[in-house]
Amino acid sequence: MKFAILVNEAPFGHQAAQSALSFARAVLSSGHDLVRVFFYCDGVQNANRLAAPGNGETNLVRDWSRLASDNNVDLVVCIAAGLRRGVRDANLAPGFRISGLGQMVEAAVLADRLVTFGG
């Protein structure tokens, strides 16, 4: 089955982004397809490569990048939401790309299930 994931919360103010990552891994380990993860609203902060959590803290930005490189997952950051919040090419982490809201609509149409985390 084809899944898409929508992430609406930043990594350090909320657990939703961590939940989304765990769900994404479970989608893949269960043998399903993950057509796209779309980062919207405060979720765009998951793509900020300047984030550097302290010792013993999870580095979600790095974990997303690894998910993308290990599993060829399409990580898309909303351009408008990113510009508003200071996430753009200059500080974009590896494995993410910036595009428009149309990519979220496309993901919703292509996937059998869209699962939202945070909002």
């Binding site: 089955m1 899944f3 609406n8 657990q15 939703a16 939940s19 765990s22 769900f23 891994r25 479970a26 989608v27 380990s29 269960s30 399903h32 059998d112 299930r113 869209l114 699962v115 939202t116 985390f117 945070g118 909002g119």
Partner: protein, 106 residues
């Protein structure tokens, strides 16, 4: 529509911190199920004020709770509202495939 029976509703907020749980439970249709996750798992605690609300929902709907989020909060060994089922993330994925859509109450 047997392969797309009804929605799976997720709740990620504490039951005492907002209307998410109550609203969700008030909008369950035939065949719908509920998954408590993140701070939503506090609703599964037996003895909490909202336990009755959840018990009512359980008469007609399955209610699941995400095990890793229980453990994170110190609830792994505690008594839960009877009838609540614990699932892991793979279980969450399976639930998502078996329901028609996933609606997040955040």
């Amino acid at each position: 529509m047997s392969d797309r029976p009804a929605p799976l509703h997720t709740v990620n907020k504490s039951p005492l911190a907002g209307p998410a749980l109550q609203s969700c439970l008030a909008h369950l249709t035939d065949g719908a199920a509920v998954l408590l996750m993140e701070d939503g798992v506090y609703a599964a605690l037996a003895g909490a004020l909202c336990a009755g609300l959840l018990a009512d929902a359980l008469r007609d709907h399955p209610v699941y709770v995400l095990g890793p989020d229980l453990a994170l909060r110190g609830l792994a060994g505690r008594a839960l509202v009877p009838g609540v089922s614990i699932v892991d993330y793979e279980g969450f994925v399976t639930l998502a495939t078996r329901h028609s859509l996933v609606q997040a109450w955040v």
